[in-house]
């Protein structure tokens, strides 16, 4: 039996050691804000916060999830700082099709938590593992700047 904390709640799960956290979150816990893009850590659509750090849930075997604290976009939505990110992404239209957005928002949150006042290079590095095929990134970088300017309890 694998036990972990998911969005603040203790949960348990049983299955193969190498089952992807991504699939378990989507199929078993119905947290569909976690997206599947590539299953090889190249796109960031499946980003989660794993023990306080940004991680690709497609590359986390369930054996590793045992004892961990995991937050998805559904968990972040409940935090006060989400409202800052929400407004900041809406303002410059940093969302188009939306598929990359949960991962982008989590990457932005993870960056701002470590570095509340990042410069443009640091923002681009913070988002470098998250691919967006619509926006061309400029609006997303702008969104993170806006969120940093407004500030929040990251």
């Amino acid at each position: 039996m694998i036990e972990f904390v998911l969005n603040g709640e203790k949960v348990s799960w049983e299955g193969p050691d190498t089952e992807r956290l991504l699939d378990v979150l989507r199929e078993d816990f119905r947290l569909t804000g976690v997206k599947c893009g590539c299953k090889e850590g190249e796109c960031g659509a499946c980003s989660v916060i794993f023990d306080g750090e940004l991680a690709n849930s497609c590359l986390i075997p369930m054996a590793k999830a045992d004892g961990a604290e995991i937050m998805t976009i559904e968990g972040l939505r409940e935090l006060d700082c989400f409202r800052v990110l929400d407004r900041a992404f809406a303002e410059p239209a940093a969302v188009q099709c939306g598929f990359c957005t949960p991962g982008m928002v989590l990457a932005a949150y993870s960056l701002l938590k470590k570095n509340p006042h990042p410069d443009e290079n640091e923002i681009r590095d913070g988002l470098s593992g998250n691919l967006c095929r619509c926006t061309g990134y400029r609006a997303i970088v702008e969104a993170v700047k806006l969120a940093a300017k407004e500030g929040g309890k990251w």
Partner: protein, 268 residues
């Protein structure tokens, strides 16, 4: 799944066989072995330490790349390579031990292990041994690692003098090295006291040619400048790139260009 509390328990479990070692998961999970039983070493306290040993740093195998970047004692040369690995989410999970255990000549931290003459600490219930990194790599994905042995730590000497690092990838982030190069040179009173140069992603293992490096050790900068064409020509003969996604000609040319640049940035 087995999640041992300490290294001893981990080694006992490993000695019984049938387990796949996993720390960050970023390599294992690209092609997850079906029905594999994972021996989780990601939180083993003995594998999470970074220690300053004076002339060297001991880095636990389960230390992540992010922890390496944030550590005040990991050498800047290693950090330069770590910052070019993939992207934050991968760097947060991927580990020093995993980068070595994967056996690839493209592993970005392994290039630095080679150029600095790192030693590995391999632990098993039979005891511990500390092979040199270049003896540990036997060939493509071939390692001198017994089934009951675990990579426990890396002994990384601190670079003496100045260093040079360059990674050539398809793009800035998330890129597997097409070629990587690291050089370290120590010049005292105008005389080269030591020089090392390592090439990644060129052949089955990271390449170093200690007999060629010796050509310039003990030479003055003037002498080294005079010898530069012969030195480059010797590397031209010694480097035999494997076929890959990029041509052998391109690889060879970039290797030599980076070697030239490393020397000229150091007055040679």
């Amino acid at each position: 799944m087995v999640r041992p509390e300490n290294l001893n328990d981990a080694l006992k479990t490993l000695s019984r066989g049938g387990m796949t070692i996993c720390a960050g998961g970023t390599d294992v999970m690209v092609y997850p072995p079906e029905n594999a039983r994972l021996l989780m070493v990601d939180r083993l306290p003995e594998l999470k330490l970074i220690e300053d040993l004076g002339d060297a740093v001991r880095i636990g195998a389960a230390v992540t790349f992010t922890e390496g970047i944030e550590s005040p004692i990991v050498p800047e040369l290693m950090k330069a390579a770590l910052r070019r690995i993939a992207a934050p989410a991968i760097r947060n999970m991927g580990t020093f031990g995993g980068n070595i255990g994967n056996g690839s000549a493209k592993a970005d931290s392994v290039l630095i292990d080679f150029v600095l003459d790192a030693k590995l600490e391999l632990a098993s219930i039979r005891g511990t041994r500390t092979p040199d990194i270049d003896k540990f790599y036997l060939g493509r994905k071939k390692l001198d690692l017994a089934p009951d042995e675990l990579i426990a730590a890396i002994f990384l000497p601190k670079p003496k003098g100045s260093w040079y690092y360059e990674k050539v990838g398809g793009r800035e982030a998330l890129a597997i090295s097409r070629l990587s190069f690291a050089g370290v040179i120590d010049v005292r009173d105008g005389v080269i006291t030591s020089l090392s140069a390592a090439f990644g992603a060129v052949a089955d293992t990271v390449l170093r040619f200690k007999e060629l490096e010796a050509m310039l050790t003990g030479k003055s900068l003037d002498e080294a400048r005079a010898m530069k064409p012969d030195f480059i020509a010797a590397y031209d003969r010694a480097i035999v790139p494997i076929r890959g996604r990029v041509s052998e000609t391109w690889r060879k040319e970039v290797c030599l260009n980076l070697l030239r640049d490393f020397l000229s940035q150091n007055g040679i």
